[in-house]
């Protein structure tokens, strides 16, 4: 149970961070396209609970949860959204280019599927250099439509590279449902299996399922048997990019929305945790502590200076 409390705390932390971002986004101070993970946090928390700082993760445009769950510095994340010198990339990359090398979160990128090959390259380096660590590639269902996904998984399978592919299938790419993008009956899991990747599909909102499947797959990957993929079915609560709810646009069936909101990962964990003695007090404490941390991160960001445009000339080339 204490494990579950910690998982809950992690999940709630990401949720509260992103809700705070959403709340303040319209102030026009976080001036960069921002994709919230609200509703999908259990995937990142579940997977990361089985990783060490040595393991290296890459992600996509929707990376806040992956970054935070991996241990990425909260202050740097918020400062990056504000475009401040103290941000992950000192304001060069914004929300879609997060990085915290200290905890093995290498990078997220803004082009769909184009960080998948990078993660595979990381795994190639690990294999050639005989490292014990592994690589993780996070991406969405839309990314699996890119040739880059297919070519990368094929190569990882050929070389039996130490990498875990994590697909968050939230059924949408921006406003577009699966239908015009993938044929009826498509299973990303079975497809990956035929590519040559050990794969499991789970309810990504159920953290126990995520953890159990990840554990099984990591055993495979860490013993050098080759790559693996976990497909996590999940759902995003808010608009694709930006802070708002957008179901007034009617692009998602109402029944789906209701079903998935009822299947919210925090809600699910709470059902279990409510049995715990003293739960409401514990919960209140966690929330309070988290809100303190979060407010302090926003203060940090707001109070940090903008980088000086004179620095724009730095780092065009490495030495």
């Amino acid at each position: 149970m204490s494990d579950l409390i910690e998982l809950y705390r992690q999940t709630l932390r990401i949720r509260l961070v992103e809700e705070e971002i959403a709340k303040r986004y319209s102030e026009q101070k976080m001036r960069c396209p921002t994709h919230l993970s609200i509703g999908q946090e259990a995937v990142a928390v579940g997977v990361s609970s089985l990783l060490s700082n040595q393991d290296k993760a890459y992600s996509s445009h929707r990376a806040h949860a992956h970054y935070l769950a991996k241990g990425g510095c909260l202050n740097k994340l918020i400062a990056e959204l504000y475009g401040k010198e103290t941000g992950c990339t000192a304001g060069r990359g914004g929300s879609m280019h997060l990085s915290d090398l200290d905890v093995g979160f290498v990078a997220s990128t803004a082009i769909v599927a184009n960080s998948i090959p990078l993660a595979v390259g990381n795994a190639l380096h690990q294999q050639v250099q005989k490292k014990a660590e592994i690589s993780i590639a996070y991406f969405g269902d839309g990314a699996t439509e890119e040739g880059a996904f297919y070519e990368s998984t094929n190569f990882a399978a050929v070389k039996k590279l130490p990498i875990l592919f994590v697909c968050e299938n939230n059924q949408y790419s921006v406003y577009t449902p699966l239908k015009p993008r993938q044929p009826e009956g498509r299973s990303i899991t079975r497809l990956a299996q035929e590519i040559g990747i050990k794969s499991i599909a789970v309810d990504g909102n159920d953290i126990n399922q995520v953890i159990n499947a990840t554990q099984e797959l990591l055993n495979h990957v860490r013993s050098g048997l080759g790559p693996a993929l976990i497909e996590c079915h999940t759902y995003r609560h808010r608009e694709h990019c930006g802070p708002h709810f957008d179901d007034d646009l009617n692009y998602r069936p109402r029944v789906d929305i209701e079903r998935w909101l009822a299947n919210d990962p925090l809600f699910k964990m709470t059902q279990e945790l409510a049995k715990q003695n003293n739960w409401s007090a514990i919960k209140a404490d966690i929330e309070k502590e988290l809100m303190l941390e979060i407010h302090s991160a926003f203060d940090f960001a707001e109070n940090s200076p903008f980088p000086d445009p004179k620095q724009n000339n730095n780092y065009l080339y490495a030495n």
């Binding site: 026009q28 001036r31 960069c32 396209p33 921002t34 475009g83 401040k84 010198e85 941000g87 990339t89 000192a90 304001g91 060069r92 990359g93 914004g94 929300s95 879609m96 280019h97 990128t109 803004a110 082009i111 769909v112 599927a113 839309g142 990314a143 439509e145 890119e146 040739g147 880059a148 790419s173 921006v174 406003y175 577009t176 015009p180 993008r181 993938q182 990019c241 930006g242 646009l249 009617n250 692009y251 200076p305 903008f306 980088p307 000086d308 445009p309 620095q311 724009n312 000339n313 065009l316």
Partner: protein, 349 residues
């Protein structure tokens, strides 16, 4: 009383008209039938022409470009739309090895009536991979046509003609222009051939050549320079792939000096090409070295703090020109934030 229209609406109109005029035309792209309709430029198309002819696609830029080319070769007229130039980098093989060369390579037996709309981002945190404008790449490739609209009055005409042209055409649309207002009655008839070079202001002292968003800044700059006693001739080149530059040479031969603005990196750019062509053709008339104003040689950073001064504005043009004529100009503070085209833009894209 003339009705108001804007750049996005004219783009929308041109597509409606083309779909009506050619029943073999199809239109595809990520999100073209979604509730936002690609910044309202594709709104209503799917409803009007059906989902067989207007449809969303998988996130597969490379193959989908090939699909567009294949359909065009087969006899469909094809329009494809990408929300950013940057995403289209995945499709260079199809564009360059197939689309650009097809008509030539098969000795004129087939053609590729394909237009690809690419939207160029800028500011408000678009950052390194959501703001590139690669017109010099596209124009380097024989067989492609490249169209870069600037003003609401002829953007519809340019797009309509690009669609109806039987060659692969890259249509580079700047996000900051979408809200540009105009009266409907100044808009050029869609079905007329557009002129690829337009003179917007006549002048004697210097020729300023621009396109896309930089044309707006150039026009502003010319106004300011007029008050400073410098008479600018402002030319718009909307089709950089057109090698007929007589109008440009005539202007430079008259003024004896030229400044070329560019929306992309200066280095190896449209500006480089134009200045070289001008130097080759007007050498003896040039009084001073041609000037180019483009982006510096590093990617666009994301932060509001870092993008200050990254883009050239009217003031930068004024300063560069004033310098030639030994005058002085001091940069003024912008009225709106430097990273938005106006108050209408609230992000995120």
């Amino acid at each position: 009383m003339p009705t108001n229209t804007n750049f996005a609406e004219q783009i929308n109109l041109a597509q409606h008209q083309a779909m009506r005029d050619d029943p073999s035309m199809i239109s595809m792209g990520l999100g073209i039938d979604d509730p936002k309709g690609i910044f309202n430029t594709t709104t209503g198309l799917a409803e009007a022409f059906g989902e067989e002819r207007v449809f969303d696609t998988p996130t597969s830029e490379n193959a989908m470009t090939g699909v567009g080319i294949g359909a065009a070769i087969a006899g469909s007229r094809v329009l494809m739309t990408h929300q950013r130039v940057d995403f289209f980098l995945l499709a260079m093989d199809q564009l360059v090895n197939n689309a650009a060369k097809w008509h030539y390579m098969f000795n004129g037996t087939m053609s590729v009536p394909l237009t690809i709309r690419l939207i160029i981002g800028r500011g408000w945190g678009q950052g390194p991979t959501h703001q590139q404008s690669l017109q010099s790449w596209f124009t380097h490739i024989p067989g492609l046509k490249v169209v870069v609209p600037s003003l609401t009055d002829n953007v519809g005409q340019l797009l309509y003609n690009a669609i109806m042209d039987n060659n692969p055409t890259i249509f580079l649309e700047h996000r900051w222009l979408h809200n540009q207002q105009a009266n409907e009655d100044i808009c050029k008839p869609l079905k007329q051939k557009p002129s690829s070079i337009r003179k917007h202001i006549s002048g004697d002292d210097i020729t300023i050549i621009s396109n896309s968003y930089m044309l707006l800044e150039s026009l502003k700059a010319a106004e300011i320079l007029k008050f400073m006693g410098v008479s600018c001739e402002v030319l718009e080149i909307s089709e950089p792939s057109n090698t007929q530059l007589t109008d440009v040479y005539d202007s430079v031969n008259k003024t004896g000096s030229v400044l070329v603005t560019d929306i992309s990196h200066s280095h190896y750019s449209v500006a480089s090409e134009l200045i070289t062509s001008i130097t080759e053709n007007c050498f003896s008339q040039l009084k001073v070295a041609p000037i180019r104003l483009g982006l510096p040689n590093y990617p666009e950073p994301t932060s509001f703090g870092l993008t200050k001064g990254f883009y050239n504005e009217a003031d930068d043009i004024v300063i560069a020109v004033a310098n030639v004529f030994n005058k002085n100009h001091v940069k003024s503070s912008p009225l709106t934030k430097h990273d938005v085209p106006g108050d209408w833009f609230k992000g995120p894209f």
